[in-house]
């Protein structure tokens, strides 16, 4: 069951990268994000969604409205059952990439959001959880 304020978007092709971005924009339309923050969120989502398409082939992104006291925010959980990341520390360094990327996906997304966490196990998959809070 999906709760209100939560959306699960399947990711399996590059067009889904656009779809999940659009869903996120409409989900947070009631929150006080500036247009600049909305662009940061959309860009970070784009990066993690693209990682799913490139490395795992398929996966899903959960978009969830969250609240901490009076602060509201958007949590983005990107998960897949792909190959996983062997060396997360290295993957979090700028310029490190095992594919055709620029190697900015994960470290870059971390800079765009307020909270960021990667959990990964080789052969099992990867889960990226990131949150952006209202100012």
């Amino acid at each position: 069951m999906t709760e209100p304020g939560e959306l699960v978007v399947p990711i399996k092709a590059d067009v889904d990268v656009l779809t999940v971005r659009q869903h996120a924009r409409s989900l947070v339309s009631g929150l006080r994000f500036s247009s600049s923050e909305l662009t940061l969120i959309a860009t970070a989502i784009s990066e993690v969604a693209r990682n799913i398409v490139i490395y795992a082939g398929r996966g899903e992104i959960v978009l969830r409205l969250v609240q901490q006291g009076k602060r509201r925010g958007l949590a983005v959980i990107a998960r897949d059952q792909g190959p996983g990341i062997a060396d997360i520390e290295r993957a979090m360094q700028d310029g490190y990439s095992t594919s055709r990327g620029l190697g900015l996906g994960l470290p870059g997304s971390k800079r765009l959001m307020d909270e960021f966490e990667v959990v990964s196990e080789v052969g099992k998959g990867t889960q990226v959880t990131m949150t952006k809070w209202e100012r």
Partner: protein, 124 residues
Amino acid sequence: MRASILKQSKFLIASVQGSMTDADLVQLREELSAGVRRYRSIGVIVDVTMLDVMDSFAVRTLRGIAQMVKLLGAECIVVGIQPDVAFSMVQLGLTLEGTMTALDLEDGLDLLKARDGGEAARHD
């Protein structure tokens, strides 16, 4: 494809739509290289005014387009990067180093014409 390419005298102007898939961007690259050869264009403008997000793939493809156009002997200018998008690119660590940029289409065309004029003057 979600980009339109317009030929204006010696220049090609590609207008990118709001949301481009990876396939759209790759197709734009192919159509621009074919266009430069077919029309013997000396300048290409890629107008990204409508682009709401520029992630690492989009930036890499744009860089690739610019480098490819240069190798074909033409100039390439990316115009219309929105301030929000520029801010996000900087945070992400993305640059368009080696690629000419201009505020908007008008400035981009002026820049191309000035460079064309400069070339012509040197040849006199």
